[in-house]
Amino acid sequence: MQTKHKVNISISTIVIYVLLSLGALVMVFPFYWMITGAFKTAVQIQMFPPLWIPTSFALDNFQTALSMAPFATYFMNSVIAMIGCVSCCSFTTILGAFAFSRLDFPGKNIVFGLLLGLMMVPFEMIVITNYRTIIDLGVYNTIFALIVPFTSSIFYMYILKGFFDSVPTSLYYAAKIDGCSDWKYLWKVMVPLAKPSLVTIILLNAIATWNSFLWPMLAVSDPSVRTLPFGLYAFVSEGGAHTELMMAASTMIVVPMIILFMFARKQIVNGVARGGLKG
């Protein structure tokens, strides 16, 4: 039996695995280059042919990078902005998805159609409107400016509505008969049932917020409210082109996301595969 199994590995399987390995190599290489770069000296990083394996694993570059810019503050800002965005957005997403899925109100389909239409407007186009909004709200250059425009998401609402729609109506009526209000039904039945979808939404949202660059660059200028990606950019332009320091800083920034991804990999992959989500 054992030998038969081995014989059964066909040429196409080998080809597929070779191609997949190549793809994985291409994807992983930038990360490898970044991480090893963080351990090289200024001279080593410019060497040609490239130095594939760093000669020392000293943390000097990390220390220098940390001392040159307030990365701890940037990190805290990123965390606050991420938690703010994700919690507000999840809340509005749940409410909106429930309303569009289960409640009856006049013009429901028209409103939903309009919202879906708005999804086609790229974020870059509404940057100016958003900018005006935060100026008028008087939150420019504060952490709130990073949160306010992202307190709701049509896309996530659409995904969650899809899940809510798949919950049988009889469950809603059963809850009604049991004496449940709409509000309680949402939180006691719908949300627990939607946990897998919700986790996916929250993770994707967290990653998107963590990585967002354009908006933080526009909405804040003061170093005390900068987030990590913008802080990194500022670090490069203000500190000159110290590639090895930049690599060290970048490494520090992606580590939280890599940890998050490693823990929630299954959830993310499932969510993307099931809902056909984009990342």
């Binding site: 049988p168 469950l171 059963a174 009604k176 008969i177 004496g179 946990k195």
Partner: protein, 352 residues
Amino acid sequence: MKITLSHITKQFAQTTAVSDFTAEIESGHLIALLGPSGCGKSTMLNMISGILPVTSGQILFDDNDVTDLSANRRGVGLVFQNYALYPHMTVMQNICFPLELQKVAKAERMERAMAMAKLVHVEELIDRKPSQLSGGQQQRVAIARALVKNPNVLLLDEPLSNLDARLRIEMREEIRRIQQETKITTIFVTHDQEEAMSISDKIVLMKLGVLQQMDVPQNLYDSPANCFVADFLGNPPINKTTGVVKDGGIQLDNGPLVHDDRFTNLKDGQRVTLSIRAEAATVTNENGNVDCVVDTTYIMGKESLAYVKLGDQRIRIYIPADHEFGEGSTLHLKLGKRGVFVFDETSGDRLI
């Protein structure tokens, strides 16, 4: 709790699902809402539960008008066709849920839920999730959840249709037992006449949203109000023949004249449907009511089911197994006192 339904009408856009439905359901009774699919029986149940509003009419629980009360304030228990258990909760949590919403203290909640679990015999399964239960077990849990808040009325929507044949018989006896033990007024929807006949105190038979007859099962069978009721109940289905009243008998279309003392009062020339239950016609040696010719026979053991011809019209009758009637032999048929009905052909109204 007595339920009074008076002149209930339900309209969905263009279609009338239930029209002018009036019935009174006595306290502590088990009532079957019976009818073919699409007759409005589930709609009726949903209106009693409060899930659907009525278009017009009144629903009274005892003397209280609940017509405009929302579902969560009517105090009804409802068991859905697909049971609608909360998939993320255990059996215990499912049964507790209505009490939790009523803010019953936890200790009392557990105690009452456990009592219910015992009543429906699921006390061994309380830590399982619904997905780990069989259909019959889910059904029991759904009944327990419906009963735990001591509702005034228990409603069951096609409770047995998702179960296999053997479980169906077991569960219908269970439903009867639980109903008898709790003495709760119960209404269940079914399209299965056998189910309705076997366990209900009274059957409400509906057709196209209109109440046809409400009576105890035996009366519905022995004394149908109209042709539809006679057709719907009985297995094998009642034999229907058409003819015209002539000389105190019924002249079947392309067939013989059927004599019977009962037919003498019918109006000459009226077109009628003569319906005969299979067990109502017996073979006799003397002069019967009508002669027929054997077409085919099926041996069933204790008796044979025979298709016999009355002219061009075929009917099913039972004949004793010890007689051998070959194809084409002529029989004298005698019509019994029960199971022979005459209806107006167009209106379906019962004449005899």
